[in-house]
């Protein structure tokens, strides 16, 4: 039996980006908050230090900082008729665990969505006609507009000290920034990172084609920075160890570098590590989550923590799992289109690239940051006319280097064998002379891409695994193909010694090669309680004291890395809770 604990004002499940932000805002409003984190606490001054943090094998290859698949994973099938099998070892995406969550090991690209990404369904319908969107493409509007969310994007950018350059300041377009972005009230808090040679070559080529290059918005601080919480972030040292690693320079924005120092010092906050949340205790009649049950893996003991307010800030899969196992909301059924929990699971159509080789240029790929690219947005979202193209959406395109760590990064020209003498010669010759031009394509929702409970495979707590029914669809292949053509034009514009053809998405979704940890959907936000799981304030339609954070609320995935939107929505929801919900607990939107 679970040991019953004393009730607290609020409990936060998962102490990553969203859990930290919500805990901070709620404690500032005077609430007693308990943070439950299944993994260990991590101390950057001990865990993320030279020399140990530079261990490519341990962190990048053996996956030190990620969720342990031995205990918890997900299963996959490509269509509803197949039997799903568990993802036994992470490959295509890398969920985090421990305090800081995936915020400890990300690269740091921090975007805002385009205004037309926010109201996607309405926008596409208005521009291309009422019948333009195929029936199986279940894209929706975010119920929060770009203009409404702008101050919260700004708030998250300031928390992180994002390095970048505005391209649209209060409606005025600025050359050298992203001229396609929505209007910003403020410039980025930090100037752009030092551009790499790869970025400079790309910029020149892109300009020669009439495109609009700009420095990527990076959560790698170009200069030391004190954020509005009073926390000092260090300056980036371009170590080339962002993704899959913690940051030794304290320069990559993370819960640790931006918010946890003040949060954990607040007596209103209690952090409980080794608290593996097992289930939500749901009162269907009252439409409330009464408590959270968790297991301490150090003892096997089970606890029940009652709380007035519950913030679900786990990763996408556990958010959906906890909703489904508690019976909150109606599970999605792809055959009828009814129900919403598990609906509109989306991913990222990544891995589109051309590799360019320059015999006479020293690229030094190891002097880099995770978000160190030069980008164009000319082919993103609806920034270009889709009339007659047969698909919607697009991609950000970039060149630059994120690392030169040689276990995983050592490009060789096409036709080179994978081993032996010729491979050695080519590797020695080209390692310092090559880089990728890459693209991240959007992934629009499809009726048959969804999450539910696996009937066979279980996790270490005895719960069913989340079963992913997912594949790339016609729209994805077409976007990727089209963007591949753009990549080839860009590669040619740089006049490299050698270039590869465009690597674009073909065939089934494959869980082995890394693509991106941009899993979205399953507890989507919307205006219709029957077709969504949470309202515009991320409050569950079926439990008014439950707020669901993170990318699981995205109705579909734009081409942009999700963290900027995740952070903005966390602040937006936190304000609705502290300014409105606490004064009058109950539904913030009436169905």
């Amino acid at each position: 039996m679970a040991t019953m604990l004393k009730e607290t004002d609020a409990v936060v499940i998962g102490v990553g980006w969203t859990g930290s932000i919500l805990a901070r805002e709620l404690t500032k409003a005077g609430l007693k908050v308990v943070g439950l984190e299944r993994g260990p606490g991590r101390a950057p001054h001990d865990d993320f230090t030279i020399p140990r943090v530079r261990d490519d094998l341990k962190y990048a290859v053996r996956q030190e900082l990620f969720q342990d698949t031995q205990l918890e994973t997900v299963s996959l099938r490509h269509s509803p008729g197949e039997t799903a099998l568990p993802i036994r070892r992470w490959g295509s995406f890398l969920p985090g665990t421990g305090v800081g969550g995936a915020g400890a090991h990300w690269n740091g690209l921090t975007w805002r969505l385009l205004p037309s990404d926010h109201n996607l369904r309405s926008h596409v319908t208005q521009r291309y006609g009422r019948n333009a969107i195929p029936a199986e493409m279940t894209i929706e509007d975010f119920p929060v507009s770009y203009d409404e969310l702008e101050p919260y994007y700004d708030k998250f950018e300031k928390l992180c000290g994002i390095s970048g350059k505005a391209g649209n300041l209060r409606g005025q377009k600025i050359d050298g920034g992203n001229v396609f972005e929505g209007p910003r009230q403020n410039e980025y808090p930090n100037k752009p990172l030092f551009q790499s040679l790869a970025g400079a070559l790309f910029e020149k080529g892109a300009k020669s084609l009439g495109y609009h290059p700009f420095p990527g918005p990076a959560a790698n601080a170009s200069e030391p920075y004190v954020n509005p919480e009073g926390v000092t972030i260090g300056a980036c040292v371009y170590c080339g160890h962002c993704e899959r690693f913690g940051c030794e320079a304290n320069a990559k924005a993370s819960p640790h570098s931006c918010i946890l120092p003040v949060l954990t010092a607040d007596p209103n906050f209690e952090l409980r590590t080794y608290a593996h949340v097992k289930e939500l205790v749901y009162d269907k009649q009252a439409k409330k989550v009464k408590a959270v049950r968790y297991v301490d893996p150090r003892s096997g003991e089970e606890f029940e923590q009652p709380a007035g307010l519950v913030i679900l800030g786990a990763y996408v899969f556990n958010n959906v799992l906890l909703m489904l196992t508690a019976g909150i909301g109606e599970p999605y059924d792809p055959s009828t289109g009814k129900g919403a929990v598990g609906k509109n699971y989306c991913y990222q159509v990544s891995g589109n690239s051309v590799t360019v080789f320059f015999e006479d240029k020293e690229i030094n790929p190891f002097m880099a940051t995770g978000a160190h690219g030069t980008f164009i947005d000319d082919f993103n979202g609806d920034n270009f006319d889709h009339g007659g193209l047969g698909f919607f959406g697009g991609a950000w395109i970039q060149a630059g280097t994120s690392n030169g760590r040689p276990i995983l990064t050592r490009p060789v020209p096409p036709g080179t064998p994978r081993w032996g003498r010729e491979w050695k010669k080519a590797t020695a010759k080209w390692y310092n002379h090559a880089f990728n031009v890459g693209a991240s394509c959007c992934n629009y929702a499809h009726r048959e891409n969804f999450l539910d409970l696996d009937p066979t495979y279980k996790d270490a707590l005895g719960r069913p695994l989340i079963r992913m029914t997912y594949n790339f669809r016609e729209n994805d292949y077409k976007v990727s193909q089209y963007i591949g053509g753009v990549l080839e034009r860009l590669a040619t514009s740089m006049n490299p010694t050698i270039k590869t053809g465009a690597n674009t998405r073909r065939g089934n979704y494959n869980v082995v090669p890394y693509q991106s940890t941009h899993n979205t959907g399953g507890t989507i936000t919307g205006a219709d309680p029957k077709a969504s799981v949470v309202n515009r304030y991320l409050q569950a339609w079926d439990a008014d004291n439950l707020f669901v954070m993170g990318a699981s609320v995205f109705p579909q995935n734009a081409s942009y890395n999700p963290t900027g939107l995740v952070g903005a929505l966390a602040y937006w929801s936190a304000e609705a809770i502290t300014k409105r919900y606490l004064k009058n607990p109950g539904p913030l939107v009436h169905a």
Binding site: I50, P51, R52, R54, D55, D56, L57, V61, R62, Q63, T69, Q70, T73, L76, H78, T83, L85, P86, I87, R88, R89, W90, G91, F194, S196, L197, A235, C236, V237, Y238, C239, G240, H241, A249, E362, N364, F366, M367, G404, R405, P406, I407, R410, R418, W419, G420, K424, K425, T427, A428, Y431, N432, T456, Y457, K458, N508, Y509, N510, V511, V512
Partner: protein, 238 residues
């Protein structure tokens, strides 16, 4: 290279010792001088590695395989002289080799390759089965075990495995080859603390500087220029 089964792997190692010692940057000065002065004369055979988990048969296979995948040339010593076989032995003996971070609940039906690794075997068990199958394949094709083949035969045998043309039981030879190649490259390019990449030979080959990787000023100084500082490893900072 010997092709004579009576000489075998150990004999080959002794014969190859001189060339390897001349190339191996960590060889004692005395051995280097001796090898340079009389390249035909073999120095004392290197002490046999003390294997944590590999059997003699498996070790002979792994050494021969990594020397074929990473042959000695003017860029680096051979794979085994760079410690790659030692790396593989340690990895297979350790947590990863025994299934750490691998979900192992059954059932384990035949699966499409896009669903990733779906076998009930740990990496250690998978390599045991793979080496056994690879040797069975070369015995059938060439009449002897893989490590006793000539270099051209080893290349041919590995190419057959890579292409899935070698008949294996249970899993495809491609799956085994890919795992072998992946682990070999990890050993060649990982920090030397794991036993491979001895003297940072692989990092020197490509110009990867290793640690400390703090380039805040260097990124400007070396913009478009070759980075000329010698590499350093985790051990240099410990």
């Amino acid at each position: 290279m010997t092709d004579d089964p009576k000489i075998g792997r150990r004999g080959f190692l002794v014969g190859a010792g001189a060339a390897a010692a001349a190339l191996a940057p960590e060889a004692p000065a005395q051995a280097q001088t001796q090898a340079a002065a009389t390249p035909a004369a073999a120095p004392a055979a290197p002490a046999a590695e003390a294997w944590l988990t590999l059997t003699q048969t498996e070790a002979a296979f792994i050494e021969a395989a990594v020397d074929t995948l990473i042959p000695a040339d003017d860029l680096t010593p051979s794979g085994s002289d760079c410690g790659v076989a030692v790396f593989i032995d340690r990895q297979l003996a350790g947590a990863w080799g025994n299934g750490a971070r691998l979900y192992r609940q059954g059932p384990f039906p035949k699966a499409k390759p896009e669903l990733g690794y779906q076998l009930a075997l740990t990496p250690r068990e998978f390599f045991a089965a793979g080496i056994e199958a690879a040797n069975a394949f070369t015995r059938k094709t060439y009449g002897k075990e893989f490590d006793r083949l000539s270099e051209p035969q080893r290349e041919e045998a590995l190419k057959a495995m890579e292409a899935g043309k070698a008949q294996f039981t249970g899993f495809s030879s491609t799956q085994f080859f890919n795992a072998l190649l992946q682990l070999t490259m990890e050993g060649f390019f990982a920090d030397p603390i794991y036993g491979g990449n001895r003297d940072m030979a692989a990092w020197k080959m490509i110009g990867y500087p290793g640690l400390p990787a703090t380039y805040r000023e260097d990124i400007k100084t070396y913009f478009g220029k070759k980075y000329d500082k010698p590499p350093r490893s985790i051990a240099d900072f410990s």
